[in-house]
């Protein structure tokens, strides 16, 4: 049996939402940046257990510097969020807590995974220096470029969706 779930990726522009999805869906990566406008939707089915598949309908939203600017219709019927920020650009995680509070308020029952992308560009010391901001908030440090923890991120979210 296959069920389908809607997953929405949000975050500032240029943080790598499109790249993460391309890594997950097509297993490709490019250094070029093509700005997403509106929304792109793609799909990948993954196997959860022996006879259980889950079809993830992934919504790749246009980047916004403020989550409140997102078109409400894009968020209709969302089953899970992935909030993406760029580890190398502090502006993209400065207001992380406010952004997450917005989701909590409006989608209190929808699971959210918070990821810091482009981990290939920073070192451990950098992560340590920012640990106050990241600890207890960030679920995964990922890299669309190397693919590090991308599969894991989606798999874990899918698992969470099944259990609900």
């Amino acid at each position: 049996m296959t069920i389908s779930k809607k997953i929405v990726l949000i975050g500032h522009f240029g943080v790598g939402k499109t790249s993460l999805i391309r890594r997950f869906v097509e297993n490709t990566f490019t250094e070029d940046y093509k700005v997403t406008i509106g929304v792109h939707i793609s799909k990948r089915t993954i196997n959860i257990s022996e006879n259980e598949d889950i079809s993830l309908i992934i919504w790749d939203l246009e980047g916004q510097d403020d989550i409140k600017k997102t078109r409400p219709s894009y968020l209709l019927g969302t089953n899970g969020f992935i909030y993406v920020f760029d580890l190398t650009r502090p502006v993209t995680f400065e207001h992380l807590n406010d952004e997450l509070a917005f989701l909590k308020e409006n989608f209190s029952t929808v699971p959210v995974k918070v990821v810091g992308n482009k981990v290939d560009l920073v070192n451990k010391i950098y992560l340590k220096e920012h640990s106050e901001q990241f600890d207890n908030v960030v679920d995964y440090f990922v890299s669309a470029k190397t693919g590090s923890r991308v599969e894991k991120l989606f798999a874990k979210l899918a698992q969470d969706l099944i259990q609900k």
Binding site: S4, K6, F13, G14, Y33, K34, V35, T36, I37, G38, V39, H40, I41, S42, K43, I57, E62, G63, R71, S73, Y74, L76, G77, T88, R89, P90, V91
Partner: protein
């Protein structure tokens, strides 16, 4: 006519699709999307899976704008989608806005890229700044650590030269002395550069005797020039004032730097130094300086870069200097509101020309007289000196200097706790206090001495410091410290300061 046109254009941009509550296509008009009657709309693109939940509502309207739809073998489309739900007869309206949105994409692309670039630039600058600060602190700390050993080496060589040595030994020692001097100069230069870069190099403004300063320079460089078989001439213009206000040590540093260079690049001929009056305005006087040599000269392509850090004029012969000197000179001159330039011809020689401004007023007759009678007093009695220093090598060298004069009784302690008991126990006329005492800062020790009874308020305290920054010196003075000798110091400086404060 209008209706026809409207139908034509309107039609091309819109597709109306009728679907049942499961999403099966019942009817459609002008095809924009590759939908097929009888098949589920959800199957043509995953976007439409969102409809699955919405189709069960009745008399509702949903709008989705700017949806990117990719189909195999078709140009990507960007459309607005409207859903109007009716019982089993739901209308899906597709408006093709690909052109419009593609234009918008281009605008967004430019905007986002430029914002991200500026953010990356800011990050880079922050990173560079951090590195720069680290470097400057590192240089400053490291140079300070070199001061104690160099001080000791300088003092001991000075002491040794006066002992019984044969000619060969004297020769060796002179080489050591000159190496010490060189090392000391390089450390000073490096410190100056790091001070300049961290904005900590600040000029003082004090009245001084310009002509005396120039005469002193003349004595030294006349001697050095004659040793190389060169002639030396100092010319002072008529209207050049005797007393001016500014930083005499830095002016001396500028001239010494230029003259030392001139000396090392010249093997025959002369060195000239000319000082003349440019103009006076309000309470400022602008002076013109020239330092001329008949040395190897500088190639035209090098003229621009010689004031940069770490460049050295290439001559094929061996040269001295790390090349920081001219960068410091240029900075000091610009701090004195002046300019420097150089004129040069290969094999004919070079002339460094600069002008700087000094204050002329703001000093009294008394100050002038004090400057003129600035001879050191001769001491008439023996004094008690307390030396607080934990470096044994410095203890020993100071002991030797003071002992050689026969003027002082010396008591040495190396631990901060013993200072006060020692003071109370015996008469102390002057305290020499190191800034490297374990667990104590010179400022703290001084402050506690000053807080004792009245008789200790006036005992001169001279700090022997590894730090020569203006901030440090200010802090020392605030805590009742009378003078600061920055390591490495030599015999002359030490005695000068002691005598001045025992006067």
């Amino acid at each position: 006519m209008l209706k026809e046109l409207k139908d034509k254009y309107h039609k091309n941009n819109f597709q109306y699709i009728l679907v049942d509550d499961l999403g099966v296509v019942l009817e459609q008009d002008h095809p924009i999307l590759p939908t097929i009657i009888g098949e589920k709309i959800q199957d043509i693109h995953p976007f439409f899976e969102i409809l699955t939940h919405l189709l069960t509502t009745v008399n509702e309207s949903f709008e989705f704008s700017c949806i990117n739809l990719d189909f195999n073998n078709q140009e990507p489309l960007v459309v607005d989608v409207t859903l109007k739900t009716h019982n089993n007869n739901n209308l899906v309206i597709i408006e093709n806005l690909t052109k419009h949105y593609n234009n918008y994409q281009l605008t967004a692309q430019t905007r986002n890229e430029s914002i991200i670039n500026s953010q990356i630039l800011v990050l880079k600058n922050e990173y560079l700044l951090e590195k720069e600060t680290f470097k400057n602190n590192f240089i400053a700390n490291f140079s300070h650590q070199l001061r104690n050993p160099i001080t000791a080496s300088t003092i001991f060589s000075d002491l040794l030269i006066n002992s019984n040595l044969n000619d060969e030994q004297k020769n060796y020692l002179e080489i050591i002395q000159s190496a010490n001097k060189d090392l000391k100069q390089r450390i000073e230069d490096i410190l100056d550069i790091s001070k300049i870069e961290s904005g900590k190099l600040i000029l003082v403004s004090k009245v001084f005797n310009l002509k005396e300063l120039l005469k002193n320079i003349e004595v030294i460089y006349n001697y050095l020039a004659s040793k190389k078989g060169l002639s030396f001439k100092l010319e002072i213009g008529e209207k050049v004032p005797t007393f001016i206000e500014g930083d005499q040590y830095r002016l001396k540093q500028i001239l010494a730097n230029l003259l030392t260079n001139a000396l090392s690049y010249t093997s025959k001929g002369h060195l000239h130094i000319k000082v003349s009056h440019n103009h006076s305005r309000a309470n400022k006087v602008n002076l013109h300086f020239e330092v001329e040599d008949t040395g190897c000269g500088i190639a035209e392509e090098n003229l621009e870069s010689i004031f940069d850090r770490f460049t050295k004029i290439e001559t094929g012969e061996e040269q001295t200097g790390v090349g920081l000197g001219l960068a410091i000179v240029k900075y000091l001159i610009s701090e004195m509101q002046g300019n420097i330039k150089v004129e040069s011809k290969i094999d004919k020689g070079s002339t460094f020309i600069f002008n700087v401004s000094f204050k002329t007023s703001n000093y009294t007759q008394d100050q002038k007289e004090e400057l003129l009678n600035n001879q050191l007093p001769e001491l008439k009695q023996k004094y008690n000196i307390l030396l607080v220093e934990d470096s044994e090598i410095i203890q020993l060298s100071i002991l030797k200097i003071l002992a050689s004069t026969g003027l002082f009784f010396i008591n040495i302690i190396s631990d901060g706790e013993a200072v006060i008991p020692n003071l109370v126990d015996q008469k102390v006329d002057l305290i020499l206090l190191s800034n490297t005492i374990q667990g104590y800062s010179a400022s703290n020790i001084s402050a506690s001495i000053r807080s004792l009874s009245k008789e200790y308020k006036k005992t001169p305290i001279i700090v022997l410091s590894t730090q020569g920054y203006k901030d440090d010196i200010k802090r020392y003075k605030k805590n009742g410290i009378n003078d600061v000798l920055v390591k490495p110091f030599d015999k002359h400086k030490l005695l000068e300061s002691i005598k001045k404060h025992l006067k």
